[in-house]
């Protein structure tokens, strides 16, 4: 088992970061009821961990007995039926899913599953009608319609169902939903906190940590605790005992993108553009999100770029990133960005070196 999973705090009491929030959550659910919740914060800050711990707090250990399912829905939308398939994870008391995975038909999923949950409400030991919890991931990626329909269903079925929403940025969640939820912001852990966690894990695993090594990992992790623990483990596999100068291996896709960047800098031609497309395809087919590809690519390109061009290149990156979000097929826009970059850079080279 990965260390990230192994040392994930199971209960709210065990939390090593965000202890204050954990404490508040515990108080909140002490009376067996809670409002809708919206967790938001950067990736790797511990949202999911807190949500799972919270579910355990509410329902006890049964919340951990989960099964994963590929579920099919047949939805009657007026004159036609829509078939949707989505992976869900459910226990007796909660259901978790990422509705944005089905694309623009996400709203049907949200409505349908909430209705279904409302239909069979669990009855707790005291004979009181209990409630189920629906955990929705990536709410910020939900389409506008899905968010609207979510708002209505939230009100209609609030007696039987609590929602826990989880997203990276609350700015993409509509005002209406935010106001119906208790918003909980989860900050990215500070580097000190990350170091503390790493040292804790090191102690548990019986590892010798040279001074400054944990700090270097923490620094590299971009304040993502998950990232830090994962690279800690890779370092352990790569070389042990640790040396303080030890290189922290980058992710393979990051290496790959920097390779692409080198390709782009070397030659600017339609032929090269075609090769780059092939490499981007490889990234995409491995589910690396196109936004991350574009962002990382920009990052790599800027490293090698003359200061004079940085501004313009950033502008175009932003332009194509926006269009990518509006559009349907990311490759078109990533490619357009690469083409634009090549064209700018080529003109620059010609102007400078003749």
């Amino acid at each position: 088992m990965l260390w990230v999973d192994k040392y994930r705090p199971k209960t709210l009491d065990q939390a090593m970061v965000h202890q204050d929030i954990a404490l508040n959550l515990k108080k909140l659910v002490a009376e067996q009821d809670c409002p809708h919740l919206l967790f938001y914060g950067p990736s790797g800050s511990g949202k999911k961990t807190l949500i799972m711990a919270l579910l355990r707090q509410i329902f006890g250990p049964s919340a951990e007995k989960v099964k994963v399912e590929n579920r099919n829905w047949k939805i009657d939308a007026g004159n036609r039926t829509i078939d949707l398939e989505l992976t869900t994870l459910s226990s007796t008391n909660h259901v978790e899913l990422s509705p944005s995975d089905v694309g623009f038909q996400d709203r049907y999923i949200v409505q349908e599953i909430i209705k279904e949950m409302a239909k069979n409400r669990p009855i707790d030991t005291k004979g009181k009608k209990g409630y189920k919890v629906l955990v929705l991931n990536e709410v910020d990626k939900l389409s506008r319609e899905a968010q609207h329909s979510l708002r209505r269903t939230m009100e209609k079925y609030s007696a039987s169902c609590r929602l826990i929403l989880c997203c990276n940025s609350s700015s993409k969640v509509t005002e209406a939903i935010r106001s119906r939820c208790l918003n909980i912001r989860i900050n990215a852990p500070s580097e000190e906190q990350i170091i503390k966690v790493l040292e804790f894990i090191g102690k548990k695993e019986g590892l010798q940590l040279p001074s400054g090594f944990a700090a270097r990992i923490a620094e590299k992790s971009n304040r993502s605790l998950r990232r830090a623990i994962l690279s800690f483990e890779t370092c352990r596999v790569q070389q042990y005992p640790f040396t303080s100068k030890q290189a922290i291996p980058p992710m393979d896709w990051e290496e790959y993108i920097s390779e692409i960047a080198t390709d782009i800098m070397k030659e600017q031609s339609p032929k090269r553009l075609f090769q780059v497309r092939g490499k981007v395809y490889e990234l995409l087919v491995n589910c690396i999100p196109p936004e991350i590809v574009l962002k990382r690519l920009l990052h790599e390109l800027l490293k090698k770029l003359d200061a004079e061009l940085k501004h313009e290149v950033c502008h175009w990156a932003a332009y194509y990133e926006h269009r990518m979000r509006l559009g349907q097929k990311a490759i078109f826009h990533i490619e357009a960005f690469v083409a634009k970059f090549m064209s700018i850079y080529k003109a620059f080279l010609i102007a400078t070196f003749g």
Partner: protein, 610 residues
């Protein structure tokens, strides 16, 4: 007028069809063919059975028509009813000028020769040796109207054999069957065409065509022609047809020609067309020979048309013939029909003068006719369709005039030098799109996949312009997706706008095309990528759940892909790298040299686990 009256009188009489048919003896074949399937009142109550028509075309003896099952039955059916008789008076030229000898065929000489020698070889070889020279089935394919059937008929008459045709019997409509069975009328059994066809093929395979039972003319050999494959609806039916034909190819001894009309790729959305292709392939692999007929050349069509004009004594200008030939697109049947239409005078007078079935135009009408041409010429001509690939080729090759021939007048809006492009050497892109009836999404994808090949190596700015316009098209296609399903009009406008942007973007952007050479047009890789992507997503989620069995929460795909998977690969967990192997084989080449890099880092022992 007196002559005409006899026609009327005699045609009202069912039994007598002698008088005028003597005039048209040579056209009788065509007539009888059409009459076979005609529902005749006298036989409506009897079961319709499959029939063969055997025609000895080499002689001018009356046609002998035979059926195994019920000779009289079919013979009665042969009698032409009054209605059909009268229509014969103004016969279609297509039937009238049917080629009767190999010389008259407009098909290329070599092809005809090929078919002829094939048949001759089959017929010369004694039965017991036939196994050595391969199957005795010949597949003749080609577009509609290139003279496939005509060739077989002409060849048969040339080498003096009988033709035995599979003719689909008059169908019993299902409703009719239901009606009859509910009314308790027995006798008409509903059999599907496919069943009948299968029975027929079965018989031919097992017993051959028992020539002695025909008419004692057993010395002459027989060629079986299957011109009319039953329509199959659905995969299962098609499979049945296929097996039945493959068996025929493998085992028959009778020289058989199967004529398959090739619908071209334009209608590839129709599964039937694809199935026909599949059928051809499987027949070929079963050993059948194949001859492909190309569209008939303009010159041959023109020659034939002028010959018909001479025979019909109508005066058609050479340009008109040229035009008709061009518009027909190699379809000679269409060309002849067009010619007939063209020669029709929009006058009632024509009916009177046509009593002898040869519409001849008096000289004085000729002028009037040519004057009429201007408006007329656009009426014939098929609606040209283009295949998707043809259209893509046009867009990608971006043929333009060498210089701007359009004189710019002073007031015209002038674009700056770098924005101006030379005029197209083709129709406007929207028209081509329309002809190719492609949908905008695939067209955009195809252009995106292929356009970079057509850019000059130096032209980076062009590449950007093209990429940017394709992005615009994608944006148009994406916006409101799914939301406008109820407003199909709006959706249509949006779609065509997107296609137009994509195509014109490519045309405009490609300012410095690469020196023209042959490029294969590839299928968009994107489609494969998208399929594997969605597959991989599900797989990742599942495996993440398995691997992190303690974690009782779903992670986001992006997080798994960017963080967990690379680490798992590092750690050498085999669970995660099983991912790509689930993909279909054909993309294994493109999936992940990235994975391979990782693979090489991990020890080789792991390879067994794959």
């Amino acid at each position: 007028m007196g002559k005409r009256n006899t026609v009327v009188i005699s045609s009202s009489d069912d039994e007598d069809y002698e008088p005028s048919s003597r005039l048209k003896r040579s056209y009788e074949k065509a007539k009888s063919r059409s009459s076979v399937t005609r529902t005749n009142p006298s036989r409506a109550k009897k079961p319709r059975l499959p029939s063969f028509r055997l025609s000895k075309e080499s002689s001018d003896v009356d046609e002998v028509r035979l059926a195994f099952e019920d000779f009289n039955e079919v013979f009665n059916g042969f009698k032409v009813s009054a209605g059909s008789r009268r229509s014969n008076a103004k016969e279609l030229w297509v039937d009238k000028h049917k080629p009767r000898s190999m010389e008259e065929l407009a098909v290329h000489k070599k092809k005809v020769e090929e078919v002829k020698s094939w048949f001759e070889e089959r017929l010369r070889t004694p039965k017991y040796l036939q196994g050595d020279i391969g199957s005795s089935v010949l597949i003749i394919t080609g577009q509609a109207g290139v003279g496939k059937s005509a060739t077989v008929h002409a060849v048969a008459s040339q080498i003096g054999t009988q033709l035995c045709e599979w003719n689909a019997p008059t169908p019993t409509i299902w409703q009719e069957h239901v009606h009859n069975s509910s009314a308790g009328i027995s006798g008409i059994n509903y059999t599907s065409k496919l069943d009948e066809f299968e029975n027929f093929v079965e018989r031919v395979r097992k017993y051959g065509l028992i020539s002695s039972s025909f008419n004692g003319n057993s010395k002459s050999s027989i060629i079986l022609v299957i011109d009319d494959l039953p329509v199959t609806n659905g995969r299962a039916a098609f499979e049945r047809l296929k097996t039945c034909l493959v068996l025929l190819v493998r085992s028959t001894r009778v020289p058989t020609a199967i004529l398959i009309t090739d619908y071209g790729n334009a209608d590839s959305s129709d599964p039937n067309a694809r199935w026909l292709e599949e059928l051809q392939l499987s027949l070929e692999s079963a050993g059948a020979s194949k001859v492909l007929f190309n569209p008939i050349t303009n010159n041959s069509i023109k020659k034939t048309l002028s010959r018909i004009c001479r025979q019909e004594q109508c005066n058609v200008a050479a340009e008109e013939i040229d035009l008709i030939a061009k518009a027909s697109g190699g379809d000679i049947r269409h060309a002849i029909t067009s010619l007939q239409l063209f020669c029709l005078k929009p006058d009632v007078e024509l009916d009177l003068s046509s009593s002898n079935s040869t519409p001849s135009y008096p000289k004085e009408n000729a002028n009037e006719l040519t004057a009429f041409n201007g408006g007329f010429s656009s009426q014939y001509g098929r609606d040209e369709t283009l295949t998707l690939f043809h259209a893509l080729g046009k867009f990608l090759h971006n043929k333009r005039d060498k210089e701007n021939v359009v004189a710019l007048d002073q007031n015209a809006f002038c674009v700056r030098e770098k924005f101006s492009r030379l005029p197209f050497k083709m129709d406007s892109p929207e028209k081509i799109l329309c002809q190719a009836h492609g949908q905008s999404r695939p067209i955009t994808d195809f252009l995106h996949e292929n356009v970079l090949d057509f850019l000059c190596d130096e032209a980076m700015d062009d590449a950007w312009a093209v990429a940017s316009y394709l992005g615009d098209a994608d944006l148009l296609l994406a916006s409101f997706r799914g939301m406008l399903t109820r407003h199909s009009e709006t959706e249509n406008v949006l779609q065509s706008a997107a296609a137009s942007v994509a195509v014109r973007g490519v045309l405009y952007g490609n300012f410095h095309p690469s020196p023209s050479r042959w490029h294969a047009i590839r299928k968009p890789n994107l489609w494969q990528i998208e399929r594997s992507l969605s597959h991989n997503q599900n797989e990742m989620l599942r495996q993440r759940f398995m691997a992190g069995s303690g974690s009782s929460s779903l992670s986001e795909v992006s997080v798994i892909a960017t963080e967990y998977i690379p680490v798992l690969k590092w750690l050498g967990y085999r669970t995660s790298s099983g991912l790509e192997t689930h993909d279909s084989e054909d993309d294994s080449s493109q999936t992940m040299s990235m994975i391979d890099e990782q693979e090489s880092k991990i020890s080789d022992d792991d390879i067994e686990d794959w």
